[in-house]
Symmetry: C2
Subunit: 403 residues, 2 copies
Amino acid sequence: MRVLVLGGDGFCGWPTSLYLSDRGHDITIIDNLSRRKIDIDLEVESLTPIRPISERLAAWGEVSGREIGFVNLDLATEYDRLVGVLEGIRPEAVVHFAEQRAAPYSMRTTHTKRYTVDNNVRATHNLLTALSATGIDASLVHLGTMGVYGYGWSGSAPIPEGYLTVKVPTPDGEIEREILHPANPGSVYHMTKTLDQLMFSFYAKNDGLRITDLHQGIVWGTQTPQTARDERLINRFDYDGDYGTVLNRFLMQAAVGHPLTVHGTGGQTRAFIHIRDTVRCIEIAVTHPPKDASRVRILNQITESHRVLDLAKMVADVMGADIAYLPNPRREADENDLQVRNDQFLALGLEPTTLSEGLLEEGKQVAARYAGRADPTKIVCRSVWKAGMETASDLITKLPAQA
Amino acid sequence: MRVLVLGGDGFCGWPTSLYLSDRGHDITIIDNLSRRKIDIDLEVESLTPIRPISERLAAWGEVSGREIGFVNLDLATEYDRLVGVLEGIRPEAVVHFAEQRAAPYSMRTTHTKRYTVDNNVRATHNLLTALSATGIDASLVHLGTMGVYGYGWSGSAPIPEGYLTVKVPTPDGEIEREILHPANPGSVYHMTKTLDQLMFSFYAKNDGLRITDLHQGIVWGTQTPQTARDERLINRFDYDGDYGTVLNRFLMQAAVGHPLTVHGTGGQTRAFIHIRDTVRCIEIAVTHPPKDASRVRILNQITESHRVLDLAKMVADVMGADIAYLPNPRREADENDLQVRNDQFLALGLEPTTLSEGLLEEGKQVAARYAGRADPTKIVCRSVWKAGMETASDLITKLPAQA
């Protein structure tokens, strides 16, 4: 299939592009390289040394014999160029990763709040408008987030896949209605994904666009079999307080001799997925487009749920690390239970990669290999959800000598 | 109270600014005059001759002895200037009308779809971010729309004011949850108001902003006691297929000798409010800010519901006009019932101005007075919801000689 991968240079987009290419699909990446540029502002880098996009693509050509196209284009502002690319390629599927994806970054400053909304909303809406205007019948696969549901809203009921059947009182008795699960976003970033949902819903209904929205859990892991084939293909490994995700941060912290940073009580339960499964899920979604174009298909892209503190304890036990309890800069419940349905991906053939010592060890090894690149002053989370919230000082400012 | 009126040059914003000023509030208008500029692109004008904003403001000073401030500022793009105005004025309330407000215009072209989203979402979000960042504790009153609810979703139950209590199934039995009424927008414009709702909800919860969202029905009427005090203060009267609202269009059509244009069967039932009540509702909302800052207060700003065909027949009977049935360029149900709760405004003292022959006649008189300014080729609605939908030819291209 001809597949356009929007945001194909990022943490999920890059391994997805390689995986789809490896599976025989014809891939073109659109990316404005914004993720790399944000690193410049934050004065931080991926722990793994990522190569320029053209070198990445050339390396992939060398090791795979397959070509991936690339267009440097800003989806939020270059609508006409987007239309040109769509008309030139006429993709059968478009995978949309092209959004600012870090909750802490989205809460960091008024600039980053505004950037997150302006970029994410316009990127999604431009894409929807362009697909409708060109009449290109590509199925659209969008990376959403479990965070649209919030935590603890539905009592003991597992979180359904996007839709919820509820009873509504009327003078003639209760009626059943299927609704989009109510939005309970926990940050400006998550909020933009709830805005996406309403835009998808409208363009599916009005324009018949075929849309799959993937509500993904927290991704962990770094490498896939494709990114591991050459060091120039290595995937990002974010460890900083804004872009690092919790489990990868613990692995990096264990690798560099930093205490494991639990912000808050650690009672937060979240859903997780390994990057290897992310890329598989995307291919499943791409190759199984929804049949009903009037209704957005929503799948929960997760494989397991864990309490943050349990993860910290597991990593601490296995790898010999201390745990540091730090103030939580987020406004969220101290503790929550979480069960999530993921029946649809299982039915479509996903075989979950779950937490194992082997995979944790692999993650730690990747981190250890590049430990010398770490800046320990970037580890503590300090983007607060509201002005005046407490944050922690650096726990260490120099890395211990590595073994 | 010091009140900032965003979009204070528009159809609802202008009479609201004058009314609030007349009631003794200290008003500053922010407007980028976009509504006037869109008229230039559409090659149409308000039926009533509206004067430049500085002349309007000078005339108000003359007749009332009261000054209204004005800042020409684009909310969607001039964030820093917005912050400057907020810090300079330190308003106690902000009334937010500054959004593209026509459903047909929002569906007209890819440009207008994108403009509607880019403008409305960024204007609202910039405002929320600025209120949060400056710490100015102004209550925010936003003009939303009944169209966020859609029509016919809740069976025989009246549409509640924003929130709905539903029963959610869980393994431990049903639980009750109050949810934002599910969004069922009928156009890109209406969609932006559903996006606003989610942004309001987040900023109320996270930042404690005090927000009132007014879900307004279709406005009719032109003049208020304030705009009628001098011809230079006259309010807009839009009659074109994009910006004209249904009842005002019927009155104008009757006045100029054009058949009354019913697009579709006329079985659509909609909620209405007279412009005189709009301005009263805004003052009620401004002077009664919500007590609970963590939850958006939502009020339905409507006074009555009518079927479009019943309105056409009433105007046709009273004023002697024909009815023309034209293709409906919108994707909407042919027919629907509608009951709407508006208990909160009634409890806060609103005395509804309902449909009466006197008010209809007044509307027709305003239209008749300026009939010579009408362009009959702008009357038929032709902005289609999806490419290829049928539209009607002009019914007349020259105005009949006026009596």
